[in-house]
């Protein structure tokens, strides 16, 4: 690791000020991506601004029919929260499958969403549920937030404070995890919210995206048969040593079918 200065600010404005004032500063949340990156000397921040002590980023609550989750909420808290398990069980199940126990004890929702790793799990839930990303400056709709590989609508120094999820009638997530890393080779989040079907795909492409053909098919007929014959265009999908693009294209349909299977066996999803 290169040298840096660690600062743990006491308030959100102080954190924001530090990040704006020091051009080379980076926010640190759970550190489950950032610290391994620093250890490999792939990044050289001048300062690390630790957000995990900020009360403004904490908490899980149902507010006016929406589930609000603070950015510094750890995956284990989402996975085990009674509020999340009762109101949005698919999100609790997704969180319980991220990485491994050690990662879930440290990693945070805000950190994962801000990093927007193309194989991360949370972006599929945020996009599939049409959640709203609240920052210290504004509110951003999920459709505008994710902008491709590791890219988001966040401006320099802008911090996610919480994510607000509408409560769906039904939702489920299915992923094919990479057998060693646990990252999604492909993960599909299907949600029906206010009668509208959305299908978000992570892991398969350069960033999370909506599978609009499946959305239209499921909107017309919400059943596995509706998408069983759909083909996914592999042109822009990821290809690497783990799987060629055509394999991931097939996984998109298979994971969507698995998510639908979950919905058929339980009224609210997992």
């Amino acid at each position: 690791m290169y040298e840096f200065t660690y600062i743990k600010p006491g308030s959100l404005p102080e954190a924001s000020d530090l990040l704006t004032r020091h051009e080379g500063a980076k926010p640190l949340s759970g550190g489950m991506t950032l610290i391994p990156t620093l250890k490999q000397r792939l990044s050289q921040p001048s300062h690390l601004v630790d957000l995990t002590g900020l009360a403004a980023l904490k908490g899980i609550a149902l507010v006016e029919g929406r589930l609000e989750i603070g950015a510094a909420t750890r995956h284990v808290e989402v996975a085990t929260s009674t509020v999340v398990r009762e109101s949005l069980p698919a999100l609790a199940a997704l969180a319980a499958g991220i990485g491994d126990p050690q990662v879930r004890n440290r990693g945070t929702m805000g950190g994962s969403v801000a990093n927007n790793d193309p194989a991360a799990d949370y972006p599929s839930a945020v996009l599939g549920l049409a959640a709203t990303v609240h920052t210290d400056r504004r509110s951003i709709a999920a459709d505008d937030f994710f902008q491709g590989m590791f890219a988001t609508a966040l401006e320099p120094g802008e911090l996610i404070t919480r994510i607000s999820f509408p409560l769906p009638e039904r939702a489920a997530y299915a992923k094919f995890p990479h057998p060693a890393s646990g990252y999604a080779m492909t993960g599909v989040f299907i949600a029906v919210t206010g009668g509208v079907v959305r299908v978000a795909v992570t892991g398969a492409g350069p960033g999370v995206f909506r599978w609009t053909d499946a959305e239209a098919a499921l909107q017309a007929s919400f059943s596995p048969a509706a998408i069983a014959g759909l083909e996914v265009d592999a042109t822009d999908l990821n290809a690497d040593i783990h799987a060629p693009a055509a394999y991931r294209a097939n996984l998109v349909r298979v994971m969507a079918l698995r998510a639908l299977e979950t919905l058929q066996t339980s009224s609210k999803g997992q």
Partner: protein
């Protein structure tokens, strides 16, 4: 440099470290607690697993400064946490020994710390829960068969 105060295995300690120092380095180099192993250095193998405020973490992926004010337990503190006289092994250690849940032993301290964390959350895990609960720990010798057996034995010993 920062001064970091924390509690390790029940004792208050204070160390002067660079901000980039990892918790695993403080445990091994400053405090001489070499039971915490460094296996991969890429946050994958789990050999460095310790308990931080009662939760399992990979100490090679936590900065020492992040752990300031926290309570850390390493493999050296596990048996005394169960039997303050230190005369007997922790039931998870005992089960690993009896089930021969190790060959070279390198992953064992991290594996045992991960298992004690798993059994705290899930006192009576089935095989799938054990496999899922140990996804953050790699063993290159055993094929995991005897590790799973040891977890089942330790779970019943701890519930007794």
């Amino acid at each position: 440099m920062s001064q970091v105060s924390l509690t390790v295995n029940g004792k208050a300690v204070s160390v002067d470290v660079e901000d980039r120092t990892l918790l695993s380095s403080v445990l091994r180099e400053n405090l001489g607690l070499t039971g915490t192993h460094i296996g991969c250095d890429t946050s994958q193998c789990g050999a460095c697993t310790v308990h931080l405020d009662g939760r399992v973490v990979k100490s090679c992926t936590v900065l020492a400064v992040q752990a300031a004010g926290s309570d850390v337990m390493t493999i050296e503190g596990l048996a005394p946490s169960h039997d303050p006289s230190g005369a007997t092994l922790h039931p998870v250690q005992q089960a690993f020994s009896e089930c021969h849940a190790l060959q070279c032993g390198f992953c064992t301290p991290g594996m045992i710390m991960a298992v004690t964390g798993l059994l705290k959350d899930t006192p009576d895990p089935d095989e799938q829960q054990i496999i899922h609960g140990l996804e953050g720990n790699l063993c290159r010798c055993t094929g995991y068969v005897n590790i799973v057996k040891a977890v089942k034995q330790a779970a019943s010993a701890l519930r007794a």
